[in-house]
Amino acid sequence: MTLDMELESVLRAPALEMAEYPAKVITLANSKKMVVRQAKRTEVPILLDAVRPTMKIERDFYDIVGARLYAELLGWYRYRVRNEYCLVGQIDGYVVGIVNGRMVDEDIGISYHTIAIDRGLKVGAHLFAAKMEHHIEYLGQDEVWITAESPIGFRRWMIEYNLIKQTGVQHELGGATSYKLTRQLYFNSKSRLVAGERPVPEILLNFAHENLLVADEETIQEKICGTIGGQR
């Protein structure tokens, strides 16, 4: 797509300098290794392939999370969302989860979405924790604003992290009440909720960078839904 850079210079707001998230590797319950790394903007088209099938799944609000995440990633790709980042979880190269958020300013971050494609391994929980780790420890922010679209999200985050309810503060995603994670709350919960080892062994990390793989639509739907019934 040809871009008119003169117009782009008007449409693209100046971005904050954002520290990169240092990749880590998490050993999952089945001993598989999940590499968690920051996605590059150029990788967004592949990530969109992973997100697209989820937009058809009503279960657990995957459709709305998927649709919004798709828009956010596309917005980031096309320079229409400021200060956004995206972390991806990969097992053997395959995308198993995506999280994203953005910096509002130096001090405040906004958590956008968390989507897990491989369920049953706490992928979503691990990636959400990585996101909080990024905001507090690497982006150096003081607080992160969070809202939830599904009951799973609400339970997992608001209660697990003991988040502070913010009355009268509207999260960018609209919708339900906004909560915040502060530095203190993060470090209180870190040992319980944040996993992973650094550095990632070179062979694993290189493989993850060189092989950003997406399962086919049927596999993604099956991974998310499992047995859905409808037959004997």
């Binding site: 047995t227 019934g229 037959q231």
Partner: protein, 396 residues
């Protein structure tokens, strides 16, 4: 009393079955069982339906009447049976007595539950309604909480170790990957849930000292069996009939606090003894068992109280592989509740279905206990306050 045979079995894969209603699942499992029994176009004399939660979760009652209508089994007698997580075995017991007495010749017993219709903590609350309404439930205690307290006491009394619980979890999850009906088909490893630095996050405490992977999942599912007098089995099917050789049922105090020794699962021991006595058999005669491992501790404790191991040795046996497929007494080679899942009303029926598969020798080598002749099931209601046991025998 007549010998009673199981001539047909049916089950549907357990999991989260969003597309099915409770009646759908019960109907599917029942039709599978009727077809398996060679009765796909026939009626039955009576129907017993095991279900605990339809009134709460689905706002539906009289499920037995509904199923009979759905399956065109009118004018069969029909009763719903509720005994908490032991509803399934209780329903089979009722069916067994009906046939054994000579009053009915053909009985369908179906068990089902749709627990994923509500969010997890509402499902937890529903299960907690089994606890005492005045002195336990208001405190927010859950069945995992009961199991947690029991586990700590068991550890203090018998030296049970966390590694022994983990051995059960790993065994059952591994076997679940081979079971087409299992809800959870996922290997877990010691590295992933205990040894690695990430294990604490992967496998957090759920009800101390029990962890996440000590628990069974919350599932939807259904299973069914067809009973008839053994002497008439050949009129319907060439399947090898499996005889219910013995059954037992016993109760204990509602609250754990009123038991003289809360680590003593008296109802398990009594129910098991009754079943073995009726069958004229002993625990050492059993080739394969399905125990009620809603929590890993229960597989170990039940294996002791049912008589397979001495008190305090069940955990050691599990750790040493004695309860694996090729072990001294294979237990939960289906994956158990841990992997197959625990739709509470279905579980007791599913346990019997799994044993029938074993005794018919119809499973592939990876799951079949070689030349199994005698099976045992234990269905644990409440927290051990109402327990039903069966001894089953291959008839040929």
């Amino acid at each position: 009393m007549r010998d009673v045979a199981i001539i047909g079995v049916g089950m549907i894969p357990f999991g989260r079955r969003d597309e099915d209603t409770l009646l759908d699942m019960l109907a599917y499992a029942s039709l599978n069982a009727l077809d398996d029994a060679g009765m796909g176009d026939k009626g039955v004399d009576a129907v017993y339906v095991a279900n605990m939660g339809a009134g709460i979760l689905q706002h539906q009652t009289s499920v037995a009447s509904a199923l009979v209508d759905r399956l065109s089994l009118l004018p069969a007698a029909a009763d719903a049976v509720e005994n908490g997580p032991a509803s399934g075995a209780s329903a089979i017991k009722n069916g067994l007595l009906a046939v054994a007495s000579g009053y009915y010749d053909t009985v369908l017993v179906a068990g089902g539950e749709k627990m994923r219709e509500v969010v997890g903590w509402k499902a937890t609350d529903f299960v907690a309604t089994m606890t005492h309404p005045e002195v336990e439930y208001p405190y927010g205690i859950t069945l995992p909480g009961m199991a947690g307290m029991f586990t700590r006491l068991y550890m203090e009394k018998y030296g049970l170790t966390r590694d022994q619980l983990i051995a059960v979890a790993i065994k059952n999850q591994k076997m679940g990957t081979l079971n087409p009906y299992a809800h959870v088909k996922m290997i877990i490893t010691r590295e992933g849930i205990v040894e690695s630095p990430d294990a604490a996050v992967n496998n957090p405490v759920a009800a101390d000292p029990l962890h996440f992977y000590d628990m069974c999942p919350v599932s939807d599912g259904a299973a069914a069996v067809i009973l008839c007098p053994l002497e008439k089995a050949q009129e319907f099917t060439q399947n090898v009939p499996v005889v219910i050789a013995g059954f037992g049922q016993a109760t204990d105090t509602h609250t754990l606090q009123e038991r003289d020794d809360p680590t003593n699962l008296k109802a398990v021991t009594l129910a098991s003894e009754q079943a073995f006595n009726m069958a004229g058999l002993k625990p050492k005669d059993v080739d394969v068992a399905e125990l009620h491992d809603a929590f890993t501790i229960l597989e170990i404790a039940e294996s002791e109280h049912a008589g397979f191991f001495k008190k305090g040795e069940g955990g050691i046996a599990a750790e040493n592989g004695e309860t694996s497929l090729k072990g001294k007494i294979p237990i939960n080679v289906s994956g158990g509740l841990k992997s197959r899942g625990h739709p509470v009303g279905a579980t007791g029926v599913a346990q019997v279905v799994e044993i029938v598969f074993q005794l018919r020798h119809q499973l592939d080598e990876a799951r079949q206990v070689k030349d199994a002749q005698v099976g045992f099931t234990l269905n644990f209601g409440g927290f051990g306050n109402n327990v039903v046991a069966f001894v089953l025998r291959r008839s040929e």
